[in-house]
């Protein structure tokens, strides 16, 4: 790149020469090649720094700190620094800008504009520590009604006539979303699946196939059939508690998955059954789904293939017509439906799609829940909402807006050590999470990572119970779609109307 068009570094690497022991730990630890030694002292190339904080933590002398660059551009409210950098990067390369994680534009969160109700006087709150509050969910299809063998009220004679529908139990209304082996490391996957098993919730496998080492976690794994069908063979279909057809994801509606060749190591090549080093591209659509009836066909094919033993569902990105699309999907036979909002995360996506396409999950879930109810389809399926469920407040609010289960990915990665530097697609993750480099992967201790995930969701579940108790509700099923317990406090009353939530004060 010509000197005159160099982009100013965001970050500045400050090395305190007095504290620096010249042990070169920073050189070893930084996977972005920021540090070197010139014979006399540590030298840092600021423009390579992504503020991942690895060096800061690993420096024995605590000599490094990362700050925002002291150099600055002239301020401009419209042509922000970011926009100027985007223009410079594109003029230099002619390429489509790629990024990772989720939408980083400062768009107002609707969750943050919603407040929760509590009981006062007219009914009692429930103490979540000393009394039982239930957070168990049945995941999958339920029958429209139950039939019993007799109409007699003598309960000794009654038994169930309806066949059991295809569903399973999870202990909390939380699902760990799909992150493929490939986008994240083997160690990260192990930690996730082990945590899912201990918590008795489910985790998504992503679209990278399922490594045989993970078959033992099958009762807690939902496998993903995406457009690339990587690794989709009978082992994959049979080592899962459910199968999800991925039509889209919130981070990149309309796009297929993209695993750059740098991350296709021999392990990935083996699991996905593609040559090492080649890009793993998923086609944009499923090429056997060009219309809603084709989706019905693939759902039926998967149910045939698994002998109708496990739920088969569909994931779509939340887009403008999510509500009628959702109705179509449920009528096509899906047992569960995942809606991924526009803030959803990814290992690699064009910035333009990641940041500008899709709609917020808050609005999507409210619209889909409403449409499904109008068609009397809501009760039979499980509705999962994702796309930036950041902490337990979002979890609680999305359930009150209509979801059965909240799906999250970024908090899991952050629990394992991710600093959200947005460089996942480069395969250089210094925390061993979003990389296939064996040396880097070793840095992620599976047991510690697993325990951190368990801690995270344990606290979310306790906070959920806390709020339920304060609302006088002793089962999460009575919070679902209970929009009465929410009030809106944001600037746009039209949003409250669409969500069918009253304004605070009403």
């Amino acid at each position: 790149m010509a000197l005159t068009h160099e982009i100013i570094s965001h970050f500045q690497v400050n090395v305190n020469r007095e504290d620096c022991k010249k042990c070169k730990s920073c050189i070893k630890n930084c996977s972005f090649g920021v540090f070197s030694f010139n014979g006399k002292q540590i030298v840092a190339e600021h423009h390579k720094c992504v503020a991942c904080q690895r060096c800061v933590i690993m420096c024995p002398g605590k000599a490094i700190h990362i700050s925002q660059s002291e150099s600055c551009l002239p301020p401009h409210g419209n042509y922000t620094e970011k926009i100027r950098n985007i223009i410079w990067a594109q003029s230099g390369t002619g390429g489509v800008l790629i990024s990772a994680t989720g939408n980083d534009r400062p768009i107002r969160s609707i969750f943050d504009d919603l407040l929760l109700d509590s009981c006062q006087v007219t009914n009692p709150s429930i103490d979540p520590i000393r009394e039982i509050i239930e957070t168990k969910i049945f995941f999958g299809r339920k029958p429209k009604k139950l039939d019993f063998t007799t109409a007699s009220n003598d309960v000794n004679e009654v038994s169930l006539k309806t066949n059991n529908s295809v569903n399973f139990e999870i202990e909390m209304p939380i699902m760990i979303g799909h992150m493929s082996l490939g986008s994240i490391s083997y160690n990260a996957c192990q930690a996730i699946y082990q945590a899912a098993k201990e918590l008795n919730i489910v985790a998504g496998s992503g679209e990278g196939g399922l490594h045989p080492d993970f078959y033992e976690y099958a009762p807690n794994i939902i496998t993903e059939v995406a457009s690339g069908r990587f690794g989709v063979d009978l082992n994959y279909l049979n080592n899962a508690v459910a199968i999800e057809i991925k039509i889209g994801q919130g981070a990149k509606p309309g796009h297929g998955g993209h695993l750059p060749g740098e991350k296709v190591s021999s392990l990935i090549s083996q699991t996905r059954m593609i040559p090492e080093g080649s890009d793993a591209l998923s086609p944009y659509p499923h090429h056997d789904i060009y219309s809603i009836e084709d989706l019905a066909q693939l759902i039926a094919a998967l149910k045939e293939a698994t002998r109708y033993k496990i739920p088969v569902g569909v994931k779509i990105a939340a887009v403008h017509n999510s509500a009628p699309i959702a109705v179509g999907i449920v009528r096509s036979g899906a047992d569960f439906l995942t809606l991924d909002g526009f803030r959803g995360g990814t290992g690699a996506a064009p910035r333009i799609i990641r940041d500008h396409a899709g709609i917020p999950i808050e609005l999507a879930i409210a619209a889909v829940d409403k449409s499904l109810r109008e068609e009397n389809l809501r009760e039979q399926i499980t509705l999962i909402a994702g796309g930036s469920i950041r902490y337990s407040a979002d979890l609680i609010k999305v359930i009150a807006l209509g979801a059965d289960v909240a799906m999250c990915c970024m908090p899991v990665l952050i629990a394992m050590g991710c600093r959200v530097c947005q460089q996942c697609f480069r395969g250089l993750c210094p925390w061993g999470i979003a990389t296939q480099d064996e040396i880097l992967v070793k840095r992620l201790d599976i047991t510690i990572a697993k325990n951190r995930i368990i801690n995270l969701f344990h606290s979310w579940n306790e906070e959920l119970k806390d709020v339920l108790g304060a609302m006088g509700i002793d089962s999460v099923e009575s919070l679902r779609s209970n929009r009465d317990r929410l009030r809106y406090i944001g600037p746009n009353p039209r949003i409250a109307e669409i969500l069918e939530v009253k304004h605070a004060g009403e």
Binding site: L146, N156, S475
Partner: protein, 397 residues
């Protein structure tokens, strides 16, 4: 008594949730013998602390032997226009067998009295199994679309009488003691944030199902959305409405035995279910999974009158036992009594020294008491859910 707000609340209260304390009572004669409402008035009025004069009501089953095969509509109407519209509407839908005012004791010096009217009605094809559904639609239609009209009850051989006043005032007004019924329900209210309105008093009724309710349903939003997807319209601001509609949905539309429907409304904890044998676990978990949106959360005790097909009285309290419910059985085991407080029973014993109870007990939380005409006490609400060979077996109680 308040002579205003008959069929609707004043505008400013309309979108509010209504919070009230209540007293509930009821009894059923197993042999079907019809008795005067006097006893239930006594049972209710003693629960004085539970009312503030802003609402009371009674449901009586077996009062219209002469017209027992016809749907007996009880209407609350603000004025003659509403009455004319309702009668014209009904004439288009079927045959009016008899149309008359419900006998009431007119107060002196009150101008704008409500019109309290009853119509005995039949649909064109008499034994059509869809008739009940058509009546439900008629009720929803009248309540939503005909201004100033409200259907108090729409069952056969039964009726609901309610209004805005003290329990004894309402009993006087409707001449409750002159009716003879084999099953009586009664309710008195303590609304705290509205002036009360006649239509909003309990019992709530749909077809032959009447509900008197004490407590507040915290799952109201969830239950309401569930019901609305089946076409029920929740027009009133009180949560008791959803209880009546849920029972109608589960028992009439889905044809579920009452003992199972009450399990859906107040299911046992998963912790308890997991202690049962495999078959029962599947049964209970299926009920919890399929009917999770019918679960009533929050404090409640209810007494329900239901007669499809056999007249039945059901008592149920929430699974955390946040509202009181007491059950008693007469010495001759012919009458089952339910009330918010034991004082109701004591009142009866004070009035009649020969009157005695064989047994008085508090049913377990979430455990229904079911008493059927002719068959007696089917469930006493004290059963422990322990599975041996059958679904439930009574342990010593």
């Amino acid at each position: 008594m308040r002579w205003e707000n008959y069929t609707s609340l004043p505008e400013k209260f309309r979108n509010q949730r209504v919070f009230d304390g209540c007293g509930i009572s009821g009894f059923i004669n197993i042999d079907g013998s019809r008795v005067s409402g006097k006893k239930v008035i006594e049972m209710l009025c003693i629960l004085r602390e539970r009312e503030n004069g802003l609402g009371a009501g009674y449901a009586a089953y077996g009062i219209y032997s002469k017209y027992k095969d016809y749907y007996a509509f009880h209407f609350l109407l603000d004025d003659e226009i509403a009455k004319t519209q309702v009668l014209e509407y009904l004439e288009k839908k079927g045959n009016i067998i008899q149309s008359e005012p419900i006998p009431t004791k007119k107060p002196v010096n009150i101008d704008n009295l409500p019109i309290i009217w009853r119509v005995f009605f039949e649909l064109g094809s008499i034994n059509n199994p869809n008739n009940d559904e058509k009546i439900v639609k008629i009720v929803m239609d009248i309540n939503t679309n005909i201004k100033n009209a409200f259907v108090m009850s729409s069952g056969k051989d039964m009726g609901v009488f309610k209004g805005n006043g003290w329990s004894n005032e309402i009993a006087d007004f409707y001449k409750i003691s002159e009716y003879k019924a084999y099953m009586w329900l009664a309710h008195s209210r303590f609304p705290t944030n509205t002036p009360g309105w006649w239509a909003g008093a309990h019992p709530f009724n749909l077809l032959n199902c009447s509900v008197v309710h004490n407590g507040e349903i915290t799952s109201y939003g969830t239950n309401r959305r569930y019901l609305e997807s089946f076409g029920y319209k929740c027009t009133l601001s009180t949560d008791t409405e959803v209880i009546a509609y849920l029972i109608d949905l589960l028992c009439r539309k889905h044809n579920i035995p009452m003992s199972i429907a009450t399990i859906a409304l107040a299911p046992p904890l998963f912790e308890e279910i997991e202690k049962l044998d495999k078959k029962s676990q599947i049964l209970f978990k299926s009920i919890r999974a399929t009917y999770r949106s019918a679960m009533l959360n929050g404090p409640f005790s209810i007494v329900v009158g239901y007669s499809n097909p056999v007249p039945t009285m059901i008592g149920l309290s929430d699974r955390k036992k946040l509202r009181p419910l007491v059950v008693g059985i007469s010495e001759d085991e012919n009458t089952i009594y339910m009330s918010s407080e034991e004082s109701s029973f004591r009142r009866l014993m004070i009035n009649d020294h020969d009157f005695n109870f064989k047994d008085i007990w508090h049913p377990r939380s979430g455990n229904a008491v079911i008493a059927e005409l002719g068959n007696g006490l089917i469930k006493n609400g004290l059963e422990i859910t322990v599975k041996k060979n059958n679904l439930l077996q009574e342990e010593a109680c």
